[in-house]
C-alpha cells in the first residue's frame, strides 16, 4: 500500500523506496497468501530483498469490525470538534487508519 498507490514486487524489481499509507500488505508464498494490515511505514526494495518497516502491523484476521466501526464514529466526531490543526491532524490520522482497516476486512471477505 504505497502512499502514491499500491504496487506489487516480484523478484528482480528495480530498487524502490516507498512510504506506506494505511493498508494491507499481501505476502504470496507459493499458493499461500498472508495478509497483514500496516498502519504506515516504509518499504525498501533492493535487488535482493523487499523489507517492509511498518510502525504497527497486525494480521488482518486480528482486526475486529465492531471496534473499528466504533473508532470511526469517535474519530469523525473528534475531527469535526477539533480546536486546532494539531488535534485535527491527529484525529484525521486515526480516522484514515480505521477506515483503511474497515476496507481491509470488508474487501477481504
Amino acid at each position: 500500500p504505497g502512499a502514491a498507490g499500491s504496487f506489487g514486487v516480484l523478484v528482480g524489481h528495480v530498487p524502490v523506496v516507498s512510504q506506506l499509507k494505511p493498508g494491507v500488505v499481501e505476502i504470496h508464498d507459493g499458493g499461500k497468501v498472508e495478509q497483514f494490515f500496516v498502519s504506515s511505514g516504509f518499504a525498501f526494495v533492493s535487488t535482493t530483498a523487499a523489507d517492509i518497516c511498518a510502525v504497527e502491523a497486525a494480521p488482518v484476521s486480528d482486526l475486529d469490525s465492531d471496534t473499528i466501526k466504533e473508532n470511526i464514529s469517535t474519530f469523525t466526531k473528534t475531527v469535526a470538534d477539533a480546536q486546532n490543526d494539531m488535534d485535527k491532524a491527529t484525529a484525521q490520522v486515526g480516522l484514515d487508519v480505521n477506515q483503511a482497516m474497515l476496507q481491509a476486512i470488508t474487501g477481504a471477505k
Binding site: 504505497g2 502512499a3 523506496v17 516507498s18 511505514g41
Partner: protein, 309 residues
C-alpha cells in the same frame, strides 16, 4: 524502596565493630556478641533483597530478549538502506565547529553491574575524539544514571535528558517521542551509544553515527539515481530521515534494556552469593565465640569449686 533497604542493611553490617581474628583465650563480652548478631541479620536481609532483585531481573530478561530480537530485523534493514545510500552518496566530512550530538543510553535504576559505567566511559572517549576534531558537543542523556553523571561532571555539555519511561515495556511510540524530542536540537551529526546484548553473560558497547536529518533531503537527486521513489521524493526523504532516527533509537533502547536485565541478574547473583558466604562466616564466628565463652565460664566455676573444697 528495595535499594534503600539494601543500603540500610549494608550500613548495619559495616557499622558493627570490625571482628578481630579470634585468638584462643580471648573472651568476647555479650555486647560484641550482640553486634555480631546484628551483622548476621543484616547479611540475611541483604541476601533476601539481592535474591529478589535477581529473580525479578531473571523474569524480565527473557521477554526483553524476545522483543529485542524481534526488532533487530527492522533496525537492520533501515540501517542497511542508510548504509547503501551513504556509500553511494558522500556523507560530507564534518568541518571544525560542526555541532555534534552525543546520546548515551543508560538505565534509570542502579545495581546493574558495570552497564552504565562502561557506556559512560565510551561516551567520554567519543567526546574526547570529537573535541580533538574541534567539534561543538551537546549531550542528550537517555536514562537517569547518565543524567546524574553528566550533571556532576560536565553540566555545560548536557542539553536535555529523557528518562523514566522504561517502566512499561519500551515500544515504538515511546522511541518516536524521544526521537522527536531529541531532533528538536539541530545537529550535523548524532552518535547514539548503547550496550548491545550478546548473550546472558556479556554485552558490548556500540556507537552508531547518524548524519544530520537534512542530509537526506539535500541529497535528493543522488538518491533518485540509485532508487526509484514512489511519490514525492523530498517528502519521502524528509519523513524517512525522521523514521530512521526513531527506528535506530528504538533498537538501541531495546538492546540496552536487555543488557540491563542481564547485567543486573549477574550483579545481584554475585551479591547474593557474597551475602550468603558472609552470613555463614559470621555465624561460625558467633558460635565459636559463644562456645569459648561457655568453656571459660565452666573453667572458672570448676576452679572456684576446687578452691572452696
Amino acid at each position: 524502596m528495595l535499594v534503600s533497604a539494601l543500603k540500610t542493611g549494608v550500613q548495619a553490617a559495616k557499622n558493627a565493630a570490625p571482628v578481630a581474628a579470634s585468638s584462643v583465650g580471648q573472651v568476647r563480652g555479650k555486647a560484641t556478641q550482640r553486634e555480631t548478631k546484628t551483622r548476621i541479620e543484616a547479611c540475611h536481609s541483604v541476601y533476601k533483597i539481592t535474591k529478589a532483585m535477581q529473580s525479578i531481573a531473571n523474569a524480565k530478561l527473557n521477554p526483553a530478549i524476545a522483543r529485542m530480537q524481534e526488532s533487530r530485523p527492522m533496525a537492520a534493514s533501515v540501517r542497511a538502506f542508510i548504509d547503501t545510500a551513504c556509500s553511494e552518496v558522500q556523507v560530507p566530512e564534518l568541518e571544525a565547529g560542526a555541532s555534534c550530538l552525543v546520546i548515551p543510553i543508560t538505565s534509570d535504576k542502579g545495581l546493574c553491574g558495570a552497564l552504565n559505567t562502561k557506556i559512560l566511559f565510551k561516551t567520554m572517549n567519543t567526546i574526547q575524539d570529537l573535541k580533538e576534531k574541534k567539534m561543538k558537543i551537546k549531550v542528550i542523556t537517555v536514562g537517569e544514571k547518565g543524567h546524574k553523571n553528566f550533571q556532576s561532571m560536565n553540566p555545560k555539555m548536557l542539553v536535555h535528558t529523557a528518562s523514566h519511561f522504561g517502566k512499561t515495556d519500551i515500544n515504538f511510540l515511546q522511541a518516536s517521542r524521544v526521537a522527536e524530542f531529541v531532533t528538536q536540537t539541530p545537529f550535523d551529526q548524532a552518535t547514539i551509544l548503547y550496550n548491545k546484548y550478546i548473550n546472558r553473560v556479556s554485552f558490548t558497547q556500540m556507537a552508531h553515527t547518524i548524519p544530520a536529518l537534512t542530509f537526506f533531503s539535500e541529497q535528493v537527486s543522488k538518491f533518485g539515481e540509485k532508487f526509484e521513489f514512489e511519490g514525492d521524493e523530498e517528502q519521502i526523504l524528509k519523513d524517512l530521515a525522521e523514521f530512521q532516527f526513531a527506528v535506530q533509537l528504538y533498537g538501541a533502547l531495546l538492546e540496552n534494556g536487555a543488557s540491563e536485565q542481564s547485567s543486573r541478574l549477574a550483579a545481584m547473583d554475585n551479591a547474593s552469593k557474597n551475602a550468603a558466604s558472609m552470613a555463614l562466616e559470621l555465624t561460625q564466628l558467633f558460635n565459636r565465640t559463644r562456645q569459648m565463652q561457655i568453656t571459660a565460664e565452666m573453667i572458672e566455676i570448676s576452679t572456684g569449686a576446687e578452691c572452696c573444697k
